[in-house]
């Protein structure tokens, strides 16, 4: 739809942070990358598609934030020292932070599609997409949903062992 296309139309580069392995530092790197790019004067957004274990809100100290919608979709939470990094995470949609998101694939896919196309990002130089470990529903759906847009590429994170 026109609205869907518009939400990501203002994003110049989309970067996926992947691993396969859990606990190697994907969310940490995604956060640091966003902060560094912001320091360099870029307009940055973070999309946290780790539905089961969304870590980014806590890393940016906005774990208690709520999100709302505007005409063009979800309004991201603005974080960072100058409140200029746009963040969207499932973490914001949970009523209680300890609530487990115990969903099977199809339900996760529907939400990811919504996340990818329904957030009113505005004009961004970089959108960093943090992913969960593995090569499954979240990854397939995210790549599929992002395919029509400016997908810059993937950064893969690992540890030495």
């Amino acid at each position: 739809t026109l609205a869907e296309r518009a939400n990501l139309a203002g994003v110049r580069h989309i970067l996926l942070v992947l691993s396969g392995k859990g606990g190697v530092g994907k969310s940490t790197i995604s956060t640091e990358l966003a902060l560094a790019l912001r320091s360099a004067g870029k307009r940055v957004g973070i999309l946290d598609v780790d539905l089961c274990g969304p870590s980014i809100p806590r890393m940016l100290r906005v774990q208690d934030s709520a999100v709302h919608q505007c005409d063009s979709g979800w309004v991201p939470v603005f974080v960072g020292q100058d409140k200029a990094i746009a963040l969207m995470s499932i973490g914001f949609l949970l009523e209680r932070p300890d609530d487990a998101v115990v969903w099977r694939g199809p339900k996760k896919n529907a939400l990811i599609k919504q996340f990818v196309t329904d957030v009113a990002w505005g004009e961004l130089d970089f959108l960093i997409v943090d992913t969960p470990p593995g090569t499954s529903d979240e990854h397939i759906s995210t790549v599929e949903a992002l395919r029509p847009y400016q997908l810059l590429g993937a950064v893969l994170v690992t540890t030495p062992q």
């Binding site: 396969g20 392995k21 859990g22 606990g23 190697v24 969310s27 089961c52 274990g53 870590s55 806590r58 890393m59 932070p97 300890d98 609530d99 487990a100 998101v101 115990v102 969903w103 099977r104 694939g105 199809p106 996760k108 896919n109 969960p132 470990p133 593995g134 090569t135 499954s136 529903d137 990854h139 397939i140 540890t159 062992q161």
Partner: protein
Amino acid sequence: AEAEELRARLRAVRHTVLVLSGKGGVGKSTFSALLAHGLAADETKQVALLDIDICGPSIPKMMGLEGEQVHQSGSGWSPVYVEENFGVMSVGFLLSSPDDAVIWRGPKKNGLIKQFLRDVDWGEVDYLIVDTPPGTSDEHLSIVQYLSATHIDGAVIVTTPQEVSLQDVRKEINFCRKVKLPIIGVVENMSGFVCPKCKNESQIFPPTTGGAEKMCQNLNVSLLGKVPLDPQIGKSCDRGQSFLAEAPESPATLSYRNIIQRIQEYCEQNHFQEEKIM
């Protein structure tokens, strides 16, 4: 009919323990492997280790079984045996190359998990240890659902001390409560590091919100133990050797052994209660 099939296959399994986390990279597979090794040290016990991490199966490498293939017989799939009394099954054994990515959506993963439970000929098993992937998704729902045909003694939940991990682990605890899966207890891995040279202790992952201890107090679950970081653990895993056997003097080994004993006691006591009721 399907439930009957599963029930029949799992009838000969005395105790089942699920190893869960919610958080990735905290040491589930390492713990599952060592728990199984520890239990299998008693040659009179038959131990089975099932790896249902379909996207990232670590167990074959940790058990030194990379490259092994699964054989089919009249009675089903044969597990790969590490010892006579210790069998292993993992999707890793079904891949033609260890670098092959298994890029499957939920339903296909569920199908394989069901197949593992239905078609693997485990024989008589005293302990079935199930290693899971991080998260609370298809694999976890499916394994709990399929194993309801038998009796799950409980779940061991693994974490590391920092809040970013505990955050995900609290969700896992809630998942267990939601699906009525008893929680045997929590293991805190990577809990401190003692330098082999200067013997100084450092907190590599500081427990900024009280670590697993505080979380367990708050949520009324047992803390089974804390395991310190030991670089030998990672090395043993990479080489497919049992860390317990390679570093019997390490403080980490002592911790693991205590935890394994507590789990064994929990299972045996459980069984005894059940027999009493029956």
